[in-house]
């Protein structure tokens, strides 16, 4: 297993090595030591390898990830797994703002809490947060699923499109055009699968579902006060 010690090796070198891997590489399991909160660690991966980061990561860790599995054993800075296309990112600590922002696919699991704007403009990603999330999460969320085992802050799902939100705890307030919705069988199935994939210990019936009232999909002057 390749081990890259960032106390000795530059981040540029690490990312260049990871980008140079071919899809059929034998070096499928990497470990990064002494990350020291550096930014853009393991960003732009495009092969099915696993990268373990032994500590805290800075901004945009695993940004734009495709296919790879990235495990952050500490906390993650702003925009972890931003614009992820596929693969899996697992934060064992807490995540800062804009976790999973604009991501199109893959699974982001955060064992701790996530700060504001978690899942902002998400476009297909699945996010499971085992703790709580901050305000303005799932803002303009287009598609994908956000599951929160703890509480959600103010203005959850503001201006949401077709993303699905499941929250087990308290929602401080819902944003414009976001409403609580009926939990049907298909939603229970989806939630069950995601909880299982994330290794989360919770029952589907403990959650409530939120989504778009679709009232702001086409601008109308009578809705101007909603903005």
């Amino acid at each position: 297993m390749p081990v890259v010690n960032l106390a000795e090796t530059a981040k540029r070198e690490l990312n260049a090595q990871l980008h140079a891997l071919s899809v059929d590489t034998n070096e499928t399991h990497w470990r990064v030591e002494n990350p020291q909160g550096q930014h853009a660690l393991a960003a732009g991966l495009n092969v099915p390898v696993t990268v373990e980061i032994a500590g805290h990561a800075g901004y945009y860790c695993a940004g734009m990830n495709s296919q790879a599995t990235v495990v952050i054993e500490g906390n993650a800075g702003v925009g972890v797994a931003e614009n992820m296309m596929s693969g899996k990112v697992h934060v064992k600590g807490d995540a800062s703002q804009s976790a999973g922002a604009t991501a199109h696919g893959g699974l982001l699991v955060i064992d701790g809490d996530a700060s504001a704007r978690c899942g902002i403009s998400m476009k297909g990603i699945d996010i499971v947060v085992k703790g709580s999330i901050g305000p303005m999460s799932a803002f303009m969320a287009q598609s994908g699923t956000l599951v929160v085992l703890g509480d959600a802050g103010d203005a959850l799902g503001d201006s949401i499109y077709e993303a699905r939100l499941f929250v087990r705890g308290e929602v401080k307030s819902l944003g414009a055009d976001c409403v609580e919705k009926e939990m049907r069988a298909e939603h229970r199935d989806l939630l069950h699968k995601l909880l299982e994939a994330a290794g989360a210990d919770a029952g589907v019936d403990e959650f409530r579902r939120y989504g778009s009232a679709r009232g702001l999909y086409n601008f109308h002057v009578d809705n101007a006060s909603a903005y």
Binding site: A40, G63, A101, I120, Y161, E162, Y217
Partner: protein, 444 residues
Amino acid sequence: MDLKNIPHTLPRFSATFDPHTLAEIRRAAATGIYDIRGGGTKRKLPHFDDLLFLGASVSRYPLEGYREKCATDVWLGTRFAKKPIHLKIPVTIAGMSFGALSGQAKEALGRGASLAGTSTTTGDGGMTSEERGQSQTLVYQYLPSRYGMNPDDLRKADAIEVVIGQGAKPGGGGMLLGQKISDRVAQMRNLPMGIDQRSACRHPDWTGPDDLEIKIEELREITDWEKPIYVKVGATRPYYDVALAVKSGADVVVLDGMQGGTAATQDVFIEHVGIPILAAIRPAVQALQDLGMHRKVQLIVSGGIRNGADVAKALALGADAVAIGTAALVALGDNDPALEAEYQALGSTAGAYDDWQEGRDPAGITTQDPVLAARLDPVAAGRRLANYLAVLTLEAQTIARACGKSHLHNLEPEDLVALTMEAAAMARVPLAGTDWVPGNPQGF
């Protein structure tokens, strides 16, 4: 007194409440919604027309028009990028989205730019295969909405443009109205068909110049430091915005004046926010010079570039290149008088048609209607654009040679004078026939 013979006062329109203003009040009262339209500002502004070149005479000698070389090439992205861009001409095609424009129009822009040896630029909505296929040099816009944004396209691009704002609406997002959301547009943007698509005004995962520096570093890491990174701003506070873009690690700054067009924005925003490009170039260049980065971080300016004189004037004020949008669409066939009957049917007239948001463009350019879009032949339209780009270049060379310059980049403010005090103050060149430059050059 014979009342019949008293002279009548002629009906007089108010300069304040002119017919356009009155019509807008009535339209607002009838609909309860602001006017949305495409294009840039239509008001009269201090512009490049207010500047003149001095030309060579006894004190300076010119270059021979058809024999002595006047080079036009430009390098972009030489600061950090491993693969900077080399363009044959300093006129690029500005960012315009597939969605706002038809696939045929995007293809035509790529064809025309490639024939002329310059770059074209994607827009909100992502990169289409036609566009990538036909564009020799393609700049990929990285926008707040991130519609269609994916790392594969990022890696296929020749440069990346982080869009913070645009001249038509600095500080504003956008709205692609439902009537332009075809199946393909909806799919590229991960949204249902037929709904209004809001484009955010702020990036979702960074705020402010310190974060921008980290974002640019991420884009460089993902693309292995190969591609030039541009930062595009709408002209408002150009001195500070350019300085902060340089501080954030930009290779190239794109500065768009309020004449720059948009696909669809509130008329009140287009006409009342931002500053003209003439007023923005010198502060931007000053910022680069103060940081010792002029010509190291390249400056592309846009907003109202129409002819080779505008190109030459922008470069003389210190820009490295210009970008065109509206003029490029006109070269493709937008607002063609040959379509007058159809513009009339839409309640407009050729030359004034700006309801691009409705998607009913008879020229087939600002539409997603397959029947209308099919009217535009991308090969012929691309040829027209290439011809137009050639003329812009030849005109700029003609002026540069007359000023004794062997490269367009050798044009300088000292070659210019202004016709008005406003233009003299904004461009910081003397009023014609005087040595007077209004204002304090230090006072930004």
